[in-house]
Amino acid sequence: MNDWVVTVLILLPMAGALAVWLLPWTRLGAGGFALLVALAEVGIWIQAAARFDFDGGLQFQQQTPWFPDLGVSWHVGFYGFSLWLTGLTVVVMAATIAYGFWAGRERARAYFGLMLMLTGAIVGVFASQDVLLFYVFWEAMMIPLYVLIGVWGGPGRLHATLKFVIYTLAGSLLMLAAVVAFGLSQGTFDLVDSGTSGSTIILLGFLAGFAVKAPLFPFHGWLPDAYRESPPEVAAVLSGVVSKAATYGFLRIALPKFPGPVGDLRVPILVLAAAGLVYGSLLAFRAPDVRGVIAYSSLAQLGLITFGVFANNDLGLDGSVLQMVNHGLLSASLFLLAGMVERRTTTGEFSRLGGMARGRPLLATVLMATGIIALAVPGSTAFAGEFLILAGVFQQGWAWGVIGAIAIVLAAMYMLRMISAVLHRSPGQAVSERALDLRPAELGAVVPLVLILVGLSAWPALISDRSFPHGAAKQSINTGLQASPSHSITQERTAAEAGP
């Protein structure tokens, strides 16, 4: 019941952030220290994953009362899927901090402190077992992101941050109202102790927060600006990891705590997801620049993941967790690559790019590999995830499956369009002969992500079979993710074995 590992995963980067802010580091010192902390996070996570019992329920719990009069506590712990999402977070954060270090961001102490703070907040979101604590971390993600985009972003950053903040806070304040109502009506804010709620209004409050953060169609107004104006590594975090906080919220709060209302709202949510999937794919196909393609493909992919989450069966749920990790890694790699291309050419517009493959084999290989996995060629881990989701949602109704399949065809189209516009054709105006191939440091940031994707392609079941106890995703959700359903199963088994 009292395992420090999760608390350490949350507090280590926050302590690192304070150290970066308060001590007089040089630029190199601050970046190096931040990278070290980020790598230590990866190490701690690996150690935690090695100890994790994938057939158990909530693990590595730690609980300390925070304000007992309302039943709020520091309660953290991991389920299988939280473990994977945390892994995604620490890996992507390490890669992005490495990229920021290499890119030499101005005002290094402020920058790296914020990145570390963001890391801690995101891990906190994935680990909280108390709904108020969840909300605290949820909001805590917003502040570093706001400053990171607003200070280090592109020329349109002020407008972009304003939009981003207004959208996300509008959603999350509605969520706060829902948190208050949920916690007080349950008598506790603890997600493990609390029962289920039948209130559609409260669920809608939560969904407002999640739908904006993900984003789901039609709450994606902030997305293109924020993804275009962010520094590339922040865009990588935003689309790779932060968006998963929303789908995680579906999994951890919406489904187990509101079984009745979710059943009522399933079709509208699936419709929104489908609309986002198709609309995002079409926009990605028409986007004039690299980041536009990745941004809208994110919208589409989040729609697909939502499909899986609300498919209401094992296939969909397992597939959605796998696809969350896939998309996180893919989107982060693509945004980092976009940043690398922009660094060499000063632009991401297709009309001024092209022909970058010639003389730059490393860039071509890495971009090609990532793009191929992103378009879900059979055998890739994205294919596995999307296939599971489609198979799952097909059981809800064949039409959903058809929509999903169409969108996957579109995915192939926009990814190939982007690859060819950047790498092939004749060299664009902005592409100088002297633009270098990827440097070792850049490879160091992006190649690990791609290698993990390749590894997952070989063994997607690592995640899809190990997100819920005994692979019984639906049963696990239906029992409110309460103390592992495995108990009842094993008890029945032992009872049966011991029987006559």
């Binding site: 605290v136 909001e139 502040i143 706001y146 200070v151 002020l158 941050t161 208050v180």
Partner: protein, 491 residues
């Protein structure tokens, strides 16, 4: 016949009055150069003394009791408010020290500040209508003069005059209301009013209700709740910034604390009416304060409207009419007062740098030039907006919880919408400090090199920052204290 007097209960007031007296003597007797220093130190010690004695009263009064022939109430609720007043006063002394008025009216300024604090400490313990009015006038008169103390500045005189006129009107309304209540019930003591109302069946008595309404309006003036807020922006803008800081933190605290005490103790039979009135005032304040703040460019005006909107949040807690509401009100006041003082302290720092009123555009680049003040200001704005990890978030959370608990969920929605609106202007301050937009012409500091360091002011900003964070991370002990304090009210 002289009633027995509980001198111990009066120590915070007496300590502060003593400090005021010494300041006045120093203003005449001490050598000219040292007057301000002596007065500042004395006042600071006075506020420390008030804080310490406030803690002692809190500790030694587990149950409330009426003292001095029922004129005053000695309980943890009042002691809690005294602690906030004393803390605010101490920080105000620290940030007044670098101000230019030191040279002219140092002694008088600090004497008034200490006397004002004493009046507030007196007011929050009021247990009958006479003490209520006395205390209110006591601290208000000190504030009228404090607002106008920059004699050579038209804005300051205007603020003083405006506050005097509108404030007196508010006091008059309150006094009239008190008279009507007394006339209807024949009782001065708060609990006596409640008993008389119950015993004589005065629940629907028109005179009593008119009196109650006028008293609420009077409190609305003092707490600067819309629609009784008209004086706030002008007075906050014109008054010397340290005085504004003190007003925004301490005046609001005592006005709302006392309002809840009076309503709960004297008018339990009318609770349906006054909770509705408080809810209406809350909505009006939230709407008007936030919308008007959107279009402000001067920082002090903006913060004035923000304080109006916070009166709205605090009134939600009042409208809850419950233990939880009382707890929420008292807890909310801690981070709110700290953030308010800190924010005005930063404004004061920027004003001294630029030598003119600080505007939002005038903050351009401030965050990078003075990182400690910049980060502190950003934190105060986040606290006002109610974002974690600041006490503003937990305060808002408690207020919303109280509203939900009292079955007024719609007030949560009002609060949420108001918060959304408020984010625009709070974040615009952060944006101005850290994210300089190329279109804005940068205002540079007046010639003469970098501004002198003011360790006392920075110290008070850091202390406020510590309270704002501390009330989030160390929430539990504060909530316990607030719970004990709120439990002494007869809900």
């Amino acid at each position: 016949m002289r009633p027995p007097i509980d001198w111990f209960d009066l120590t915070p007031e007496l300590v502060l009055l003593g400090a005021a007296g010494i300041c006045l003597l120093a203003a005449v007797l001490a050598p000219h150069r040292m007057r301000a220093q002596i007065a500042a130190c004395t006042t600071a010690l006075g506020f420390v003394g008030a804080f310490v004695t406030g803690v002692l009263i809190y500790v030694q009064t587990p149950d409330g009791e009426n003292v001095i022939a029922g004129a005053m109430r000695r309980d943890r609720y009042g002691a809690f408010a005294q602690l906030i007043v004393a803390g605010a006063g101490l920080l105000t002394v620290a940030l007044s020290h670098g101000d230019r008025r030191e040279r002219q009216h140092g002694g008088e300024y600090y004497a008034l500040l200490a006397a004002c604090g004493a009046g507030m400490c007196f007011l929050v313990e009021a247990n009958n209508l006479m003490v209520l009015f006395l205390g209110l006038e006591w601290f208000s008169i000190c504030l009228y003069i404090l607002c106008a103390i920059d004699l050579d500045r038209v804005g300051s005189l205007e603020a003083g005059l405006k506050y005097l006129v509108v404030g007196s009107f508010g006091s008059g309304v309150l006094l009239f209301g008190s008279a009507l209540v007394y006339g209807a019930t024949g009782a001065l003591e708060f609990s006596g009013i409640a008993q008389a109302t119950a015993a004589q069946g005065l629940k629907d008595d028109a005179v009593l209700l008119a009196g109650l309404g006028m008293m609420i309006a009077g409190f609305g003036f003092k707490a600067s709740a819309a629609p009784f807020h008209m004086w706030t922006p002008d007075v906050y803008e014109g008054a010397p910034t340290p005085v504004t800081a003190f007003m925004s933190a301490a005046t609001k605290t005592v006005a709302l604390v006392l309002m809840l005490r009076v309503l709960v103790t004297a008018f339990p039979q009318e609770s349906e009416l006054w909770t509705a009135a408080a809810a209406a005032l809350a909505c009006a304040s939230l709407a008007w304060g936030n919308l008007a703040a959107l279009v402000q460019s001067r920082l002090k005006r903006l913060l004035a409207y923000s304080s109006i909107s916070h009166a709205g949040f605090l009134l939600i807690a009042v409208a809850a009419d419950s233990q939880l509401g009382g707890r929420a009100l008292l807890y909310y006041l801690i981070p709110y007062s700290a953030a308010s003082l800190g924010a005005f302290a930063v404004v004061a720092a920027r004003e001294r740098e630029l030598g003119r009123a600080a505007t939002i555009d005038g903050l351009a680049g401030f965050g990078w030039e003075r990182p400690v003040l910049g980060v502190a200001m950003a934190t105060f704005m986040l606290a006002f907006a109610g974002l974690p990890p600041t006490g503003g978030f937990t305060g808002k959370f408690y207020v919303f919880s109280a509203a939900y608990d009292a079955g007024k969920s719609w007030l949560i929605i009002v609060g949420v919408v108001a918060t959304m609106v408020s984010l625009y202007y709070y974040l615009s301050i952060i944006r101005a400090m850290f994210m300089r937009s190329p279109e804005v012409r940068v205002e540079v500091a007046a010639v003469g090199g970098s501004p002198p360091r003011d360790p006392l002011l920075e110290g008070s900003v850091i202390a406020s920052l510590a309270v704002v964070f501390g009330s989030f991370f160390g929430l539990q002990p504060l909530i316990d204290v607030a719970t004990h304090a709120a439990n002494t009210l007869p809900f």
